[in-house]
């Protein structure tokens, strides 16, 4: 006892301009929703994947990020010889002393952004084993050389192989480019740790250590050992937790995005409802005819509800295609999406619209369609046939 789906579909097509406009509004909501969700997902993935499950971040007690921590050399020596730390082929413990500064870099377009510059020793490449020099070579200590992450490459003035970047008191020659499996290291510049400490005129050379432990049990043991030692006033934390905290910035953003999506969705559904009310108005005699021919109220209700959902699905299709295209352009053509992370440096996130973001947007679009169709479909179904027919 239903009207065929083609009846609803063809009615949507019968008023192309109005349908296109209505669908476009829904498409905009879908576009915004998928891009923002995709951004959050990408951000979370970037930060969460940055931590290694066996690594510890060791900072001075009371500082929650690399930037505000300073550690004496002695503590480095003490930690290096703790039991349970992983060792490389040369039997050297995998402890990476690091110093972090966040100078301003000039972007190609002339803007200014904070970039995380990490001073390291060669052992850093073993502690952070996602990092791989893909072009050029590793820097040599005390020679004013730097290697730059994939996200940094090309984004800032001089940030390319053979180029020179300026920060602090000198110029740094770019001798290598590195990849870090999409983690936030890709948004960093790496230089020699002592050279960077000197350049920054830091009285103490290191801001923190990264420690690769032998296994999870050792990681937990060493974490407690460092935390409890009163001589050093150090704080150890699993690297994955450290980055999860940075990623939690995304959670607040997530709530905001959901709220915005719902509000925009309500707006779009009012627009679509308007279109559908207009359709009921202009097709009153037609509805009367269908009812007179014997179609029950339910058939009319379904047909108009289906029409609203079809509009929403068209909107979803347009919005989904647009968002995938936009994500591709932002990530590939523009080299990534800059987001201010909790450390106030710029992280370049490769934006990807994933299936879950699309599914969420599809759900939103269908909800918009149903909400928009409800009122008009009811009005259509409740029309009394004789009165509707008099509108001919």
């Amino acid at each position: 006892m239903r009207l065929p789906f083609s009846y609803s579909w063809r009615n949507v097509r019968a008023r192309p301009l109005r349908s296109a406009l209505t669908a476009s509004v829904i498409a905009l909501v879908v576009l915004a929703c998928t891009l923002l969700l995709g951004l959050i997902t990408s951000m979370r993935r970037t930060f969460t994947s940055t931590g290694h499950p066996l690594n510890l971040v060791v900072l001075r007690k009371g500082s929650d990020n690399d930037g505000s921590s300073m550690l004496p050399v002695e503590s480095y020596q003490a930690i290096r010889f703790l039991d349970g730390i992983a060792r490389n082929g040369d039997d050297q413990p995998l402890v990476s002393p690091e110093v972090v500064v966040q100078p301003f870099f000039r972007t190609r377009e002339g803007g200014r952004e904070n970039v995380l510059v990490r001073g390291v020793e060669p052992v850093a490449l073993e502690v952070h084993d996602q990092v791989r020099v893909t072009e050029g070579r590793m820097f040599r200590p005390s020679s004013g050389e730097a290697i730059v992450g994939r996200g940094v490459t090309g984004r800032y003035q001089g940030a390319e192989l053979g180029g020179a970047i300026e920060f602090g008191r000198g110029k740094w020659k770019v001798v290598g480019l590195f990849d870090a499996e999409g983690t936030s290291f890709e948004s960093e510049v790496w230089v020699d740790v002592r050279e960077l400490a000197n350049d920054a005129k830091r009285p103490l050379p290191f801001s923190g250590f990264r420690v690769r432990t032998a296994n999870v049990a050792e990681r937990e043991r060493i974490e407690r050992r460092i935390d409890d030692d009163p001589r050093w006033a150090l704080d150890a934390e699993p690297e994955i937790d450290y980055y999860a905290e940075l990623a939690s910035t995304g959670t607040t953003l997530y709530v905001i995005v959901v709220a915005v999506a719902v509000l925009a969705g309500i707006g779009a559904s009012f627009g679509a409802a308007n279109t559908m009310y207009a359709a009921v108005q202009t097709r009153t005699a037609e509805i009367g005819t269908l009812r007179a021919l014997g179609f029950p109220r339910g058939a009319i209700l379904w047909a108009f509800q289906a029409e609203a959902v079809v509009l929403a699905l068209i909107g979803f299709a347009i919005g989904a295609v647009a968002s995938v295209a936009a994500a591709w352009i932002l990530s590939n053509a523009l080299g990534g999406f800059a987001v201010g992370a909790a450390t106030f440096t710029t992280s370049v996130v490769v934006l990807e619209v994933d299936a879950r973001s699309l599914a969420a947007a599809l759900f939103l679009a269908i909800a918009i369609g149903i909400a928009a169709g409800l009122g008009p479909a009811w009005r259509a179904a409740r029309l009394r046939p004789i009165e509707a027919l008099r509108k001919a």
Binding site: M1, R2, L3, P4, Y7, R10, N11, R13, A14, A285, E286, T289, L290, R291, A292, L293, G294, F295, P296, P385, I386, L389, A392
Partner: protein, 257 residues
């Protein structure tokens, strides 16, 4: 017939009042009428005289304020809204002044529409729709959409839609009202053929005096009252004079054929 009458349509003391603002409009006042099976009947009268109202009561689109309408032995008042819709779909073919085709459906789809309310499968619905379109002479217009058809052709599609379920009764509200003379006569011809060849009972509202040459009976309404006797004859004579003296069948109010 179930109630002992041999009429297909039995309208008994029917009134229909509308409440408009505070006024009560008496669209029909105590009208009784019987129409035998396989009879082509015209309902005539000036605009606003209650013709459409009476037709809608006969086809079960509307319900009387008082009185009873019985069609093919079925008292319509005993059916609820949904039952009445189902009954209409099965027993009544509807034809309107402005054709009332669905613009987004092709001729064949428009004609097949009432069959969606039956158990017939898609192939059978299609076959029957095509048969109905052949009956009205539109075998070459199956895939045309209403806007690509002339007024006369659109009304033929509507007639095909009205007969596709093979109903006992066809009701037509001013079916020639929006057509030129040539097309109007072709439609009247077609309706008469449906009665003659398929035994359909047809009730047609019209104020077109040409129709008098095609119908078996004509009934006259004025201000919601069905005219009888002298008044009916006077109304008929007035129409005839306006039409230029065509022979006219007598109005039968005894209900026999």
């Amino acid at each position: 017939m179930a109630d002992g009458s041999n009429a297909l349509i039995d309208v008994r003391n029917v009134s229909r009042h509308y409440v408009r603002n505070v006024d009560e409009v008496h669209a029909l006042d105590d009208v009784s009428l019987e129409v035998p099976a396989a009879c082509f009947v015209a309902l005539m009268g000036p605009s606003g005289s209650g013709k459409s109202t009476l037709l809608n009561l006969i086809s079960g689109i509307d319900r009387p304020s008082e009185g009873e309408v019985i069609v093919a032995g079925q008292p319509l008042s005993t059916l609820d809204e949904d039952e009445l819709a189902t009954w209409r779909a099965r027993h009544v073919g509807l034809i309107f002044q402005f054709f009332n085709l669905i613009p987004v459906l092709s001729a064949r789809e428009n004609v097949a529409l009432p069959l969606l309310l039956t158990d017939l499968d898609k192939a059978e619905r299609r076959r029957r729709a095509e048969t109905a379109l052949r009956v009205v002479g539109l075998e070459e217009r199956f895939d045309h959409f209403p806007r690509t058809l002339s007024g006369g052709e659109q009304q033929r599609v509507a007639i095909a839609r009205a007969i596709v379920t093979d109903p006992d009764l066809i009701v037509a509200d001013e079916p020639t009202g929006d057509l030129d003379a040539r097309n109007a006569e072709a439609i009247l011809d077609l309706l008469r053929a449906l009665k003659n060849e398929f035994g359909k009972t047809i009730v047609m509202v019209t104020h077109d005096s040409r129709a008098l040459r095609y119908v078996d009976e004509a009934h006259h309404l004025d201000k919601g009252v069905l005219l009888t006797g002298e008044e009916a004859e006077r109304a008929a004579a007035a129409l005839l004079a306006a039409a230029g003296a065509h022979p006219m069948p007598p109005a039968r109010s005894d209900g026999s054929s």
